[in-house]
Symmetry: C2
Subunit: 343 residues, 2 copies
DNA sequence: CATGCTTACGTTACGGGTAACTTAAAGCTT
DNA sequence: AAGCTTTAAGTTACCCGTAACGTAAGCATG
């Protein structure tokens, strides 16, 4: 009787083979269904497989170098932001339907976390990586280049990606929103968002936004970058801070819809009418926008589709199909009714 | 341009060793810092490691059976529900801080998906599994029992878990809400939720709720189980359906806060005053509750903490520390102001 | 009946690390 | 200086599956 050895005590293929009275090579052939065995042998082996509850050890297969692994590493900044939760859901479902597994990494918006995660996940020989964002630390970039596996950078469309990229042009999406708001005759505009320690898509969006506003004769009189998560409550108190600064803001653009919704609620709590007293514009067109009384002015981005597209590009590359390296998933302005009508 | 060899072309330890002029065993010792080498040798090896960009192959280590892997499989029903996104975030952050990686599985609330995922993820020799829910298919249960690895069942507290469990008693949380609403003098109460093909926590909650309401002399006159996701818009149209059925409902309990919020918006759109014309109660105390004008009557559940606790139990077990197999993370009723005051 | 071909297996080697064991040289003791 | 211990290595075997190759038996063909 052997005690539970510190070693792995799971049933191995050799044990199945011995029980079935064949060599492990034959058992292996049966399990892979690649032929070269009789029906009688197959039945014997399969019977023992069921009986012993054999589960193959994919580590051994991959390790042997015959196949690549079915892991795909996916880095996401955080899940408190509904946007990224949707992107991840799109990725995981699509990968799952092709027999691939997601190895998750939450990078908390920092390059250092991302770098650490990349180092670890690469040591597991993933089939590929999907990374949120286009900015990586120099060491991370080097590891990624040397890894020799497919890499999809998502979210922030990168026209010269490490390998592949899918997302939208955040500068342009900010620009379009800026142009729309100035076309609605706003000239003193505020911004409420959050800041992180790295260059990111929200910053790029803000750049595009400012450019359009200034080009249209308006001014972004106040930009608030809170050190907080981009959700409801920061939108609420950020609005309070912004309005308290007395800069005569007529309209506020928010980093995302959750923050905009927080702002909307702040205004309601102070008896301010939207859009009569102040204009509110979000970004992302999150599900919550579907139920509020006024249609939130926002920018629609197909988050789920973005995730799916990233997974499809990954799978395409892994199947040696030709894959367009850059895919713009597009966005669409939702005029809504939380800013005043354009002329 | 290098031809892509089908084999893995990454730098191996032997190559590092050869470059440094030592045996791979010595290089291995240096990398693990376990002593038995001179400083000069260490420097030589580390120099080559940096120079060649060597990344260890953890597959080989684990495969050799000397250590268990650092993977932890985590199954989550879906990420559209903010609750589970938060739980996952709690898990992944805590696991990550202990050098473990999350292998995600979205089971879409079906046991079949869960079973398939379990089979696949077990073939990767994970160190442990964290599963949402206590109900698994018979085959899944068998595989889990045979796996011989730590398993944490979360969300729905299981007093006789496969291995460990952390969560809350959903029946009791529903019961408490039912008792509270009847104490507020509601007797005709409705429920809006979603249904899935398996027994789940929301159903258990509803059972407890009904029991308390009936015990308190009220009636759950209408239960709506939509075939949809448990988010804002289904809450909105579910409310419409429920009220249109003309069953004289005075108060509605929702599966979660997002649905309750949808209901709140529906009522507002019809000019109904809350709680004067109708009472609204949610469940989960999601972040959105922090910004709406009236405090939503809800049930606070520490989602992030729940995820962290699950990860801590997993890590404790993996470190051979004694771990309490069941942990009740608790809930707390938020009276709020969207139901009328209790007497 | 010798030859070649097919079927149904078995045998060997390998991959990348590490445990366990072995060895050579250096250092220390008396 | 002989004998013992310690240090710094090297060698071998193994983990679990699979590719590549080997082989024996059965069968058809000329």
């Amino acid at each position: 009787m052997k005690e539970k050895s510190s070693k792995n005590n799971r049933i191995s293929l050799s044990e199945v083979a011995r029980a079935a009275g064949v060599s492990k090579m034959t058992a292996s052939r049966v399990l892979r269904g690649e032929g070269g065995y009789s029906e009688k042998t197959r039945d014997k082996v399969m019977e023992k497989v069921d009986q012993l509850g054999y589960l193959p050890n994919r580590l051994a297969t991959v390790f042997a170098g015959d196949q690549s692994s079915t892991f795909v590493g996916v880095s996401i900044p955080d899940l408190g932001n509904e946007v990224f939760a949707q992107v991840l859901e799109g990725i995981d479902r699509k990968l799952g339907s092709f027999g691939r597994q997601t190895v998750l990494g939450l990078t908390q918006h920092t390059q250092q976390e991302e770098e650490n995660w990349i180092r670890t996940v690469l040591s597991w020989q993933p089939a590929g990586l999907i990374l949120t964002g286009r900015y990586h630390s120099p060491r991370a970039t080097e590891m990624l280049r040397n890894a020799g596996i497919p890499i999809v950078e998502i979210w922030d469309l990168n026209s010269s990606p490490l390998d592949m990229s899918v997302g939208i042009n955040h500068f342009d999406s900010g620009f379009d929103m800026g142009r729309y708001l100035t076309s609605c005759d706003y000239s003193n505009i505020g911004y409420v968002g959050t800041s992180h320690d790295t260059a990111n898509a929200a910053t790029t969006r803000l750049d595009g936004f400012c450019k359009a506003v200034e080009g249209g004769g308006g001014r972004v009189v106040k930009q608030l970058c809170l050190h907080d998560t981009a959700t409801y409550y920061p939108g609420f108190y950020g609005t309070e801070q912004l309005l308290a600064s007395g800069s005569g803001v007529e309209c506020i653009f928010y980093q995302n819809d959750a923050m905009a919704f927080g702002g909307l609620q702040y205004c309601a709590s102070k008896g301010m009418l939207v859009p009569h007293d102040i204009g509110i514009a979000g970004w992302g067109d999150l599900p919550i926008a579907s139920v509020i009384a006024r249609r939130l002015t926002s920018m629609h981005v197909p988050h789920l589709k973005l995730g799916q597209a990233a997974a499809e590009m990954m799978i395409g590359r892994l199947s040696d199909e030709p894959v367009e390296p850059c895919r713009d998933i597009g966005f669409r302005l939702i005029p809504g009714t939380t800013v005043r009508n354009s002329a």
